[in-house]
């Protein structure tokens, strides 16, 4: 069954090739640290995000020449083909067959549900580089599942007060009818109404059916809100931004939403319609700090496009893992100690200071409110506000720590 290992060896060689430029140092004959990536590389709508995370994580690990505390780091890549049962089967293969020390992934929530139980039972650290389901670091948290990306609530919790403070009294909500949609809209709604705002309409178009936003935008126009707060990513985000302008709603109200709405991945296809949108997210390419600057330069040099928030999360995940491995002195056989090391480290990521909160295993990070604007003939980002050190309450997570 060596055939199946060939993909793993192929990835390792790629890693080693980059190693050439790395630190000479005498590499003891220790076995390498193995990190298993479980991402949707071939089917479904998240292939682009899977590649962004993988490419950016490589950028981070290159800086150390794939070395941490004297041990080589080996990346093993497995494709979930966007099927939850395949994701779980591949994770089992990585853990039991390839003996990886930790897992990184997935992207979609269905695959997260499938991987979560397995990582918890197998007691193998699972690091989530994207999916934002609140429960995973809330009432259903696990000592083995850490998250370096965000929780849905973390992104929008302060946006309600911010928008109320900026004079937006009446807001309409719009998001797809699935768990993440309801968590993000709920996270915005409570603080916004407490700050005196009123929700005029709350609509949830069915998930997975991309016909057209005309019907819902029609209803929003009738409700005459000051602004619309939305959650969409990928093709639907491109569509909504376009149709918001086509229906002339941009003359009557402000478009706002979770930052993925105007992600660098969608900007090229949105064109000028994406200007003038208020977003809130844990990352904006325009963040002014040295780590982000070097990351964007190297990413744009290598991939000829702006690094997205998914890339930034991939890069920071690489840095966090590397810091933890150094903190743990390269020892990975005691998985609990490895998790403790993850809790102990603090790093300067693309998003600013980052650490893992021991009480929830969720990342503590700054959240940025920004606006898109025309910069020359292209649409760029302007940071409006920076909310520091946003940390989730335990919400029923009994990790203590």
């Amino acid at each position: 069954m060596h055939k199946m290992r060939r993909a793993a060896v192929r990835a390792a060689i790629v890693g080693a090739a980059i190693l050439g430029a790395g630190v000479a140092g005498t590499a003891q004959a220790q076995a390498p640290v193995k990190i298993g990536l479980v991402l949707p590389y071939s089917a479904g709508p998240f292939v682009a995000i899977a590649n962004e995370i993988t490419d950016s994580m490589a950028l981070a690990l290159e800086e150390s020449g794939y070395m941490a505390a004297g041990r080589k780091i080996e990346i093993l890549r497995e494709d979930t083909t966007h099927k939850p049962d395949v994701a779980q089967a591949k994770a089992k293969k990585l853990v039991f067959e390839d003996k990886v020390d930790m897992l990184v992934g997935p992207v979609a929530s269905a695959e997260l549900t499938a991987l979560f139980d397995f990582a918890h039972q197998a007691k193998v650290p699972l690091i989530i580089p994207n999916a934002g389901d609140n429960e995973v670091t809330g009432e259903k948290c696990s000592p083995w599942v850490l998250r370096t990306s965000f929780s849905n609530d973390q992104i929008v919790r302060d946006m309600g007060r911010w928008m109320a403070g900026k004079g937006f009294k009446k807001v309409a909500l719009l998001a797809f009818d699935y768990k993440a949609g309801h968590q993000l809209m709920g996270g915005f709604k409570k603080p916004f109404t407490e700050a005196g705002g009123t929700i005029v309409t709350e609509q949830y178009p069915p998930f997975g059916r991309l016909s057209d936003f005309g019907p819902w935008l029609g209803k929003i126009r009738d409700a005459k809100p000051d602004a619309v707060f939305t959650f969409f990513a990928g093709p639907p985000a491109t569509l909504l931004v376009q149709q918001f302008k086509e229906f002339g709603l941009d003359r009557e109200m402000k478009l706002a939403g979770a930052g993925w709405l105007v992600s660098p991945l969608s900007l090229p296809s949105q064109g000028k319609a994406a200007a003038g949108v208020i977003g809130v997210l844990n990352y904006v390419p325009a963040i002014d700090n040295p780590v982000n600057k070097s990351y964007q330069e190297r990413f744009q040099a290598k991939f000829k496009r702006t690094g997205s928030e998914f890339g930034a999360q991939g890069y920071d995940t690489g840095k966090l893992i590397h810091a933890a491995l150094t903190q743990a002195g390269g020892k990975t056989d005691d998985k609990a100690a490895l998790v403790k090391a993850m809790h102990a480290v603090r790093i300067e990521g693309t998003r600013g200071p980052l650490r893992i909160d021991p009480r929830t295993n969720n990342v503590v990070q700054d959240i940025y409110v920004f606006e898109t604007e025309l910069q020359g003939d292209k649409v760029g980002y302007k940071v409006l506000d920076r909310i520091r050190d946003v940390q989730d309450p335990p919400n029923g997570c009994k990790l203590g720590g």
Partner: protein
């Protein structure tokens, strides 16, 4: 197509089982996962083969009953807390009941219209569970209970043992369906398939026989669904997409629709090919598409036809040698 003599069929069945166990022994972790996935897919393919191969009813929505079996197990077992064995039986019953309701309407239609209504119902059920948040909606639901076989020293949580369990169930399903195919009921289904008007003129209540086949196929597909749910202790709408229905239909057609063994072998080929290709390239679907189109064009009646052609040639050569 009339099944070949039974002793040769059982020999081939044994051969397939030995091959599967051999692969299971030789393979590492992931190989055992593939054996489990192949056994489950074979059960699902055999259930569809009863419909397509025997009764001539081509369904493009068969994944719906597979998914319903999985979700029913999750509902009874996890949400209502029933003992897993009871929950599994109830899930199979729900699959049969759904097939009864849908089949009662669908069997009145013929040809492409039958394909369309099975597709429509499949998509309707998929749309429902995509939206229904009590089962976790798009994200699906975990914590599905597994059968407790500790009494006989088997722990189904261990994927290796689960694979053998799934293989055993597949073998059992083969034996049961084989008896059904060879029974007067199976013979009548073939009569309906070959000439429905004549079967009716001889006194056969054609609608009821088609409905019975639809219900049995639905129940067996639900059984496969309960196994899939237990394998990953997790259910999601991905279990009932129309692309899965299409893949299973491809497996049945490529396997030579009427032969239970042909479709089981085709299931193994399909899963193995999909896995092997996906380790080589991210664009494995392109290769699968090409392979499938070629197989449909070339294979007259699929693997089963090829097997039988081979069998006949061997027999002929042997006879010629004896005569010479």
């Amino acid at each position: 197509m009339t099944p070949p003599a039974s002793h040769s069929r059982h020999a081939v069945a044994l051969l397939l089982a030995v091959l599967a166990v051999g692969y299971w022994l030789a393979s590492g972790y992931y190989g055992k996962e593939l054996v489990a996935e192949t056994a489950i897919t074979a059960i699902l393919a055999m259930s569809l083969s009863l419909l397509v191969g025997q009764a001539g009813l081509v369904s493009l929505g068969h994944a719906a009953y597979f998914g319903i079996g999985a979700y029913a197990l999750a509902g009874f077992g996890q949400k209502l807390g029933w003992p897993p064995a009871l929950a599994m039986a109830a899930a199979v019953a729900v699959g049969a009941l759904l097939a009864l309701v849908v089949g009662w309407v669908a069997v009145r239609l013929a040809g492409v219209f039958f394909i369309m209504i099975t597709l429509a119902v499949g998509e309707m059920i998929h749309a429902w569970f995509l939206k229904d948040r009590s089962f976790g909606g798009v994200g699906g639901m975990s914590g599905v209970p597994r059968l407790d076989l500790s009494g006989i020293g088997v722990d189904l949580a261990d994927p290796a043992q689960f694979a053998l369990f799934a293989l055993a169930v597949a073998l059992l399903v083969y034996l049961l369906l084989d008896r059904l195919v060879l029974s007067p009921f199976g013979q009548t289904l073939r009569a309906i398939h070959q000439n429905e008007e004549r079967a009716r003129a001889l006194g056969c209540p054609v609608g009821r026989y088609k409905l019975a086949a639809f219900v049995v196929a639905g129940a067996v597909a639900a059984l496969a669904g309960t196994l899939a749910a237990q394998r990953s202790a997790f259910v999601s709408p991905e279990l009932m997409t129309w692309t899965l229905s299409g893949e299973i239909l491809i497996v049945v057609i490529v396997g030579g629709s009427g032969s239970l063994l042909g479709v089981s072998a085709a299931a193994a080929l399909w899963i193995g090919l999909r896995h092997q290709l996906s380790t080589m390239t991210d664009h494995w679907m392109l290769a699968m598409g090409v392979i499938f189109v070629v197989l449909v064009l070339v294979a007259g009646d699929g693997i089963d036809g090829a097997l039988r052609g081979l069998w006949r040639r061997i027999a002929a050569r042997r006879a010629a040698r004896r005569a010479a």
